[in-house]
């Protein structure tokens, strides 16, 4: 009986350690703030918040691809999907008050991209933090 208890306890302990070691992603402090405040980011007219969030999660590459060609090649400025707007809200600020690059490990873009193993090429050229105030 005592042997069974030892086995049971060790299993419990093991699972507790495994759980505490579980990698908790940091999706950007700012994004968490948004959620806490209940701000409806990405709310599009005529679409529920949930629907527009799903649209954003599933289709952000398509939205951005479409926009980048229109902006660069046709000169269509402004509008809904802009990479700099993504960066504006979804970057975190570290202890020293400086912005953490959005493509750094555990940050907003990298968390999902690392998980699904897709490369994140936007930021080899694009700025990874919001523009400094002038």
């Amino acid at each position: 009986m005592s042997r069974l208890l030892v086995v049971f306890l060790s299993v419990m302990l093991g699972s507790a350690i495994a759980h505490s070691d579980y990698h908790i992603p940091n999706l950007g402090e700012k994004a968490t703030e948004f959620k806490d405040e209940g701000k409806e980011a990405h709310k599009r007219e005529g679409m529920s918040h949930a629907a527009s969030l799903i649209l954003q999660r599933k289709m952000h590459p398509e939205l951005l691809l479409h926009k980048r060609d229109k902006t660069l090649r046709q000169g269509v400025r402004g509008g809904y999907a802009q990479l700099k707007e993504c960066v504006e809200c979804h970057t975190s600020v570290d202890k020293n008050g400086e912005h953490v690059p959005i493509n750094a490990p555990d940050q907003f873009c990298a968390t999902c991209h690392e998980k699904v193993g897709t490369s994140l090429d936007c930021f080899s050229c694009h700025r990874t933090t919001p523009a400094e105030e002038l």
């Binding site: 679409m47 980048r68 660069l72 090649r73 400025r77 509008g79 700099k84 080899s124 050229c125 700025r127």
Partner: protein, 244 residues
């Protein structure tokens, strides 16, 4: 309740499907129609150009133009690039007439040709000309083959040889792509003037729409003698010079 026979069942279900489809398409139509307003694409009713008067332009002026460009676009601080590898979107060029020994200084950048050789040679359509005449590199498509650099008669393009960070928000730049003067397209789209023209703030460099008869550049070009560099190539450049 009345029992439905096969024919009635099909009839009813078709009517229901049709009405659902009508309503649903109405909903999706309104959803897409409610998107935010965007500006219209640029058209060929405009052609942006620049006139540089080398008689009025001093060497200091050209240096000011170069540093304004560097500040606007964030190039010139590449630490690992050496000599020829360093980018130069706009350069100070000294030309000397061998017969008369007359020296003039020019600011030389992408000439925004109407028939750009860089666009002709690009294998991926990355090198492109916008409808309003501004020649750009679409870095999303650029594979860094540098054919355009070979093709350009003005040596206006440069290649990024090193990893960069902290780029300007409006000017993404990255290793392995070609870049050149964009005629400050981000400012022009907002109705402003290119950074080098703003920095100088004199009539030595005039920027504007070449096709608009009321524009300053159109009227100046009508009045003064001007030339294109390598006019023999028939590229019909957007950047013109007077005094050389």
């Amino acid at each position: 309740m009345k029992e439905l026979n096969r024919r009635e069942f099909i009839k009813n279900s078709t009517a229901v499907t049709a009405s659902v489809a009508t309503v649903a398409s109405g909903i999706s139509l309104t959803t897409f129609a409610a998107g935010p307003k965007e500006t219209d694409p640029v058209t060929n009713e405009k052609r942006w150009g620049m006139l540089i008067d080398t008689n009025k332009l001093t060497e200091v002026d050209i240096e000011d133009m170069v540093s304004a460009c560097q500040e606007e676009h964030g190039w010139g601080e590449e630490t690992h690039s050496t000599g020829d590898q360093k980018p130069g979107w706009i350069k100070k060029v000294k030309v000397k007439d061998t017969a008369t020994q007359r020296i003039s200084n020019l600011a030389l950048m992408c000439q925004h040709c109407e028939e750009p050789p860089c666009v002709d040679v690009c294998p991926t359509n990355a090198s492109m000309k916008r409808e309003d005449g501004i020649v750009l590199v679409d870095k999303h498509r650029c594979i860094g083959c540098r054919y355009c650099m070979m093709a350009c008669p003005y040596d206006a393009r440069s290649f990024v040889h090193e990893d960069l960070s902290n780029q300007k928000e409006h000017m993404p730049r990255g290793k392995g792509t070609v870049e050149s003067c964009t005629l400050c397209v981000h400012k022009v789209d907002k109705g402003e003037q290119p950074a080098c023209v703003e920095a100088l703030n004199s009539d030595a460099v005039v920027f504007g729409d070449l096709l608009d008869p009321t524009s300053n550049i159109h009227q100046t070009l009508k009045r003064v003698q001007s030339t294109q560099i390598r006019a023999d190539l028939n590229l019909n450049t957007g950047v013109r010079y007077s005094g050389i």
